[in-house]
Symmetry: C2
Subunit: 199 residues, 2 copies
């Protein structure tokens, strides 16, 4: 006797393909959707379909957008002299939340990782270099993750872009605000000491 | 400037309505769906729609099913002398997984909870009593949750069904297998002692 009616089994299988969703969570979500209003469940289905149909990468910066160019690239209020380079489109939001940065963005689509077979040619690096050719950009802020792959990508980009006479900076690495020295790992602490500033 | 393009914002909002999914998890799931194959994302949307269109409560027992009566009620291999009463349809699977129970089921659709305004008339109790009228059923096993509401429901059902000359039993409450006495709460331990058996 099967565990579930076929439509439930299928829904659980599809939910399980989401990151961080195992068998039990998928079952819980599936039964929630079955108990929920018809409208609520179908609204989720429609939101997925709508997002998938109407979103595409911005042809300029690679941000996920429903208008091309995206809202950052199209905005006359943004500073066109700075481009912040990130690995993925969802890295843009935390930077926006700081309300400190008002420049443009560039989404690489990942980081250089020889182990995973991601080389510079798999990333959106050529389009980034193209963007620098109009001479408007004065600074590239590299905000890739502080991982081995993100650091390698930062070094690679720096070597490529500095010869063009453009300033290349890297976001700071160190102890998170509100955290304690005691709980920092050695590598973070080392980076924090290396990145010390005059007071 | 909005945080996200409208279709992303809408998808995140719909995902946030799922139980246990907050803003950050919803964002992570949404961006996963946006990065995923078109086929995978649309398969999830379609699975939700399909489940919602094709599933309904079994007219006999209340289990969620795509065929009416459900696979348990329709099966000639199941023992029709026993009915196991559960709160929700998803409580059936863990009981099936034991491979010990081969009777029928009855889904109440909740438990008696005066605080939440759920009385016996909001639950599928009348249909259960109807099912007992053919005289075929010999035992009702009450498998509501071992919570105040589940216990109250068990007592209520027992008072209602015992006068019909049908045996009413309650699943055992006690220390979970593989656990240690040290970690059991007092109420569970009390119940375990009350439910002790001869060796």
């Amino acid at each position: 006797m099967p565990d579930f009616a076929a439509p439930i089994a299928r829904l659980i299988d599809e939910l399980k393909r989401l990151p961080g969703i195992g068998q039990k969570t998928a079952q819980r979500l599936a039964f929630h959707l079955l108990r929920a209003d018809r409208e609520q469940a179908l609204a989720l289905a429609e939101a997925i379909r709508n997002a998938k149909e109407n979103l595409r990468p911005c042809s300029v910066c690679g941000n996920i957008t429903d208008a091309d160019p995206c809202l950052y690239c199209a905005s006359p209020a943004r500073n066109r002299k700075q481009i912040c380079v990130v690995e993925e489109a969802h890295n843009i939001l935390p930077i926006e939340k700081t309300r400190q940065y008002n420049g443009l963005y560039h989404v690489l689509g990942g980081a250089i990782s020889p182990l995973q077979g991601t080389g510079p040619e798999q990333l959106s690096i050529k389009p980034l270099i193209e963007r620098l050719k109009n001479g408007e950009v004065e600074e590239i802020i590299i905000a890739t993750n502080p991982t081995a792959e993100g650091e390698a990508t930062a070094v690679y980009l720096s070597k490529l872009i500095k010869p063009l006479g453009i300033r290349v900076t890297r976001i700071g690495v160190g102890i998170p605000v509100g955290s304690e020295l005691e709980y920092a790992d050695e590598v973070t602490l080392l980076k924090a000491i290396e990145g010390r500033r005059e007071l």
